[in-house]
Amino acid sequence: MIKFQNITKIYKSNINPIIALKGVSFLVNPGEFVSIVGRSGAGKTTLFKLLLAEEKPTSGIILVDEENVHKIRPSLLPYYRRKIGVVFQDYKLLPSKTVFENIAYVLEVMGVLQKDIQKDVPKVLDLTGLTDRADNFPEELSGGEKQRAAIARALIHRPEIILADEPTGNLDPFHTKEIIRLLAKINENGTTVLLATHNQEVINALERRVVTLEQGEIIRDEQRGRFAL
């Protein structure tokens, strides 16, 4: 269970401080599929950064499985982060590693045996249609391929939670459908999925819970939401 309790995040700036999130509270049950919608700058990415303990909230707390995310000791933070698979908006693939190595890295971090890595990674590559790109470096990939590689990395270790920040932003309609179907399937197997997007068709096709953010505040939270801004 993920609990956002009265989260406010203000970015200090010399001119005028930017309020990214303002008193945001909501709850995500285990196994839920929640879409977070909003214009650019509405606070979607900030929300994910806070959940990943990449940044600290100005006020408020985030609980994951009853544990305050920002009170986790630095030495234990890597273990917390391994519970979460993230598709970053800017992919964040490791440029010095091949696609295969990028995906395998998460498993290596967790100490998974080499023979299991050799078995699991090709499956995910196949699932995301990247088998032919296994030995390419990120800079050799198209935008859509990078995005799929980022998705493959987020899935590989079967995390409890998946955060997907605009995972279809660079994909054509065919691949968009594929990826959303994939996320939905993973969700059916019990993984909590948080999807940030402003793709109307995706939201409408999913027919799942939609939380709408505007200027850092929740303006709508519907169980079977539709895209409306």
Binding site: L52, E54, S75, P78, Y79, Y80, R81, R82, I84, V86, F88, K92, L93, L94, P95, S96, K97, E101, Y105, V106, E108, V109, M110, G111, L113, Q114, R153
Partner: protein, 314 residues
């Protein structure tokens, strides 16, 4: 920790170590240009350090051999019996400053003289013409240190046998000896200071090269943290990469030094007889290489550690 948990922990450690080495080696290969630059700079630093080492050894040997050459002759009256001189010798040898003292009789002195001047026919002939041995018996004294000759000299002027002494051959050489010592001293000080300065600069440049290489990868380090890598898991491949650069730099330096000393050795032996720097290098090959290895790999790893630390803190 239970036995099973301990075993598992060790096993995990081994897996991570293997992964760090593999990953470090891959990064090293893939960043060809940067790796080359790092090795080059590390080699420069090691080379300067090694040169310093051999420079020190050479100047030590030079000073030693000069000190060996410094001695003092005390000449005794012509008609004096050998026993009296030997008595004086025994008295002198009680002085703590005296390292070695040798009695040279008049006959021995003549023998040495003729031997040394064999080629000089005119000199030998005039000596024959003289019909007697004109040379004096003497004591050849060696002190432990050059500065001690003054003390021995003043002892001689007050000694019980001072009236038997004809002349002391020290004052004549004194100024030349002092000059040689002051020159070697300043050469070795200047060499030491400039080598240390150069080596220090090289170390700083090496450190900065590694730091820049890692600066290029700071976003990568940030991503590694976000996907759940522990600090050690992130750091270790960088350390491996630094160690590989250091290792190769040490090998290259050893090769350069070996070749350089091989060709330099005959010239140095000509300048300082009895000093074969290449043999010295071969005899100390393992010591030199271990030092280079430790310093090279250490420098590479330390630079990596400090550079990565900055991005692991945030």
């Amino acid at each position: 920790m239970s036995k099973e948990a301990g075993l598992l922990y060790n096993y995990m450690f081994l897996i991570s170590l293997k992964r760090a080495i593999t990953s470090g080696w891959k990064s090293f290969k893939r960043q060809g240009g940067l790796s080359f630059a790092t090795i080059f700079i590390l080699t420069l630093a090691l080379f300067l350090g090694t040169s310093l080492f051999f420079f020190q050894k050479t100047s030590e040997f030079l000073i030693e051999s000069l000190k060996e050459k410094v001695d003092m002759y005390v000449y005794f009256q012509e008609e004096l019996a050998g026993d009296r001189i030997i008595e004086s010798r025994d008295e002198l040898s009680k002085m703590p400053e005296v390292k070695e003292i040798v009695y040279i009789s008049r006959e021995e002195a003549l023998e040495r003289f003729t031997e040394r001047h064999q080629a000089d026919q005119a000199l030998i002939e005039s000596l024959d013409e003289l019909g007697r041995n004109p040379l004096l018996a003497s004591l050849n004294i060696k002190a432990w240190e050059a500065t001690q000759y003054a003390a021995i000299s003043s002892f001689l002027t007050n000694a019980s046998f001072k009236d038997l002494i004809v002349k002391v051959d020290y004052q004549q050489k004194k100024s030349a000896i002092d000059k040689i010592f002051s020159i070697t001293d300043s050469i070795s000080t200047a060499g030491l200071v400039s080598s240390i300065a150069f080596a220090l600069v090289a170390v700083l440049v090496a450190f900065n090269t590694v730091r820049l290489a890692i600066y290029n990868r700071k976003e990568e380090i940030e991503t590694m943290r976000l996907v759940g890598a522990s600090n050690w898991f992130i750091r270790a491949p960088f350390l491996v990469q630094g160690a590989i650069s250091g290792l190769l730099a040490a090998l290259i330096t050893l090769l350069i030094c070996g070749t350089g000393l091989y060709f330099l050795s005959p010239y140095l032996e000509f300048l300082i007889p009895g000093y074969n720097i290449f043999n010295y290098f071969l005899n100390n090959l393992w010591l030199v290489f271990s030092l280079q290895l430790i310093v090279g790999a250490g420098l590479g790893m330390l630079s990596s550690w400090i550079a990565v630390r900055k991005y692991l803190k945030a």
